[in-house]
Amino acid sequence: MKFRNVSAVVLAATAALSMAACSGSSSETSSGGSDGKSFEFWSFTGINAKGSAEEYKKIKPDVQIKLTEVGNAQETAQALTTALAGGKVPDLVLIQGDDLPKFVQQPQNFVDLRTMGADKIKGDYLDWVISQSTTKDGAIIGIPTDVGGMAIAYRTDLFKKAGLPTDREEVGKLWPTWDAFIETGKKYTAATGKAFIDNAGGSIYSQVVNQGQEKYYDPAGNLVYERSPQVKTAFDQALKAVAAGITAKQSTFTEGWSAAMKRGDFAAIAAPVWLLGSIRDNAPDTKGEWDIATIPGGSGNWGGSFLAIPKGAKNPKAAWDYIAATQSPQGQLDHFAQARSLPSTPSVYKDPKLTSAKDEFFSGAPIGTIYTNSLLGLKPFLIGPDSTTIGTEFTNAITNVEQGKGDPAKAWDAAVTNIKTAIGG
């Protein structure tokens, strides 16, 4: 009996494979049918995918959408991986930007959307976004549904107590650069004795590193993380914030982070547009005490997702019709009005529907304008198969120093060593 337990766990890796293989044989049962109008759609939980599907059914009443909310973004990517390995795939799948590179590296698993007409619409999308789902040979395997967009969310009440300005224009002027941002943090911490931001990895490193023209790979696909100036700058800025003692040392999305947010134990946080919802849900009592200012450096993006059609899809046409209808500039704009997901189509950024959008929880901040402005300064850079791993190792090295365990002087070398172990192994 024990032996079975042993082998069950030891073989976690292959169990999924063999199960996928098993289900491959009975693949007829649950697909949306093959009348060309129905399709099977895998999406994430928590983003109201059902609402989007129902909206579409209003336009196309004869279409059947078999929607599965697989899990969170990462779980959905894991499920897609096993599905691709096993051969039983949905007709349409939502993939988060972070998970996209490993699928772009294996484009043979997906329909090249140029064959469906993506060539004609690819100019609608931000160039640095569509470039993430474009392969070296120019094949487009995903259409961007939304983008992150960055800003700094801050607590006006806490800023006031610390003697800092509270108006969003003035606050934005406090920190044209990251150096100025850290200086503001020092003033805040000196005045209140409390931390200024949640953590250095998320609120500084991940933001600065995305503001350059080159990240971990050069345009030819060579690894340059060791000598890329933007990476080093981002790393050093994060360590500077740590040394200044302005971080609450709370890793994003942990229990401590939520608790600290509720209690006002940090006053500012680098917030992509989708994080606003988390703040609202997490700390409902702080309604009206938040506001939103521009991010140092002026630009940034964190997150965003893509719709892709796996090669084995039975109803690729129906899936593409859905993409074409819902991901057009107008479609994304409508979705922004409902769900606050930021369009990846710059042509609607001046649309009154977007510019007039205000958020009461955040003191009526014009979120549409603030967030879309942060997207216009970004340059496309190559994201490679190991980008996520490299980013994780750099962030981990910073967190380690932040938690008081690592030596800041050795942190960079430690990160580089860990990266070499991780991507070589």
Partner: protein, 318 residues
């Protein structure tokens, strides 16, 4: 019937030859059919994946891309991988920290629960099992909150009496202790009940005789309870060794900022968590399979060692 030439035994009616053959066949096959479900399921979910793991471990296996045969490369890389040895060290450390105190506490508790004059004995015995039937994830989340650096109950109490807050999740030792506490919490009741069941088989008369001879509680425990528990102690050591090498959920949930590495410096990443990280976040199935094989070898080796030790101990009189 008259054409039958089958010899009949006295007292038995002559059976038609066809039916006899069929019954013989059924009787031969039936027992196998009865046990077949287990073996079929075991083959599908145990043996075939096991063998397949050995096969995958020989490849650079991208689940959605190429499968390149690399021979024993994964294994030689694994032996030189600091992350593997770190995970092995963490696993052994967490296993020792959770098992040793857990078995000792269970021994003492079982001895106490076995006491004749204990009131509400059934209530106490059943309460022991509550942690065991609680979901691991729920346990892990509650303990993580209690041990939280800034807002945890434990650190709040430490702060009240004037101590510095301890950051359990970020240090190597702290995170090991935290996970060990969760594991021990989950299993101590189960182990206690095993010991208790074994103790109840010891005749009361022996305890009474010892008491008459003037042996106190401690001496009774050392000289009666402990020796009579020897077989079940060996059993619990073997099972907790196997379980200890597979600690996963607790480690995954302790450091949710960096879940699959259990923290920024892999301070509490166990072997199974390392396997999970490589297989399901990095999608290096070949390498993950090699970790699985290494873990398999370690479990078999340790189980063998346990068996060897237990056979060596058995002849010694308690």
């Amino acid at each position: 019937m008259t054409t039958s030439i089958t010899p009949t035994k006295a007292g038995l009616p002559p059976a038609p030859p066809v039916e006899a053959a069929r019954r013989g066949f059924t009787e031969i096959v039936a027992p196998y059919a009865y046990i077949a479900p287990f073996f079929v399921l075991f083959a599908v979910f145990g043996l075939i994946p096991l063998l397949f793991t050995f096969y995958v471990a020989l490849f650079d296996w991208n689940p959605i891309g190429e499968h390149v045969f690399v021979g024993l490369d994964n294994f030689s890389r694994l032996l030189g991988d600091v992350r593997f040895w770190n995970a092995a060290r963490n696993t052994v450390s967490i296993w020792l920290l959770s098992t040793v105190p857990q078995l000792l506490v269970a021994l003492v508790l079982a001895h106490m629960l076995n006491h004749v004059r204990l009131r509400l004995a059934v209530f106490f015995r059943m309460t022991m099992l509550v942690p065991y039937i609680t979901s691991v994830a729920a346990t892990a989340i509650v303990f993580s909150q209690m041990f939280d650096r800034d807002y945890g109950l434990l650190n709040w109490l430490l702060g009240l009496v004037g101590f510095e807050h301890i950051d359990f999740t970020q240090s190597v030792m702290g995170s090991h202790v935290l996970i060990a506490v969760m594991v021990a919490w989950r299993w101590f009741g189960y182990t206690t009940l095993l010991y208790l069941a074994s103790l109840q088989a010891v005749p009361r008369a022996i305890y009474e005789a010892a008491a008459v001879d003037g042996a106190g509680g401690a001496r009774q425990f050392l000289h009666i309870s402990l020796p009579s528990l020897r077989p079940v102690i060996v059993f619990t050591i073997v099972t907790s060794t196997i379980g200890g090498l597979q600690i996963f959920t607790e480690a995954l949930l302790v450091n949710r900022g960096a879940a699959s590495t259990c923290g920024p410096i892999r301070q509490c990443q166990t072997l199974t968590l390392f396997l999970f990280e490589q297989g399901f976040t990095q999608f290096k199935f070949g390498y993950a399979a090699a970790i699985g094989v290494a873990l398999f070898v370690m479990v078999v080796a340790l189980a063998g060692l346990n068996y060897f030790l237990s056979t060596r101990i058995r002849p010694v009189k308690g």
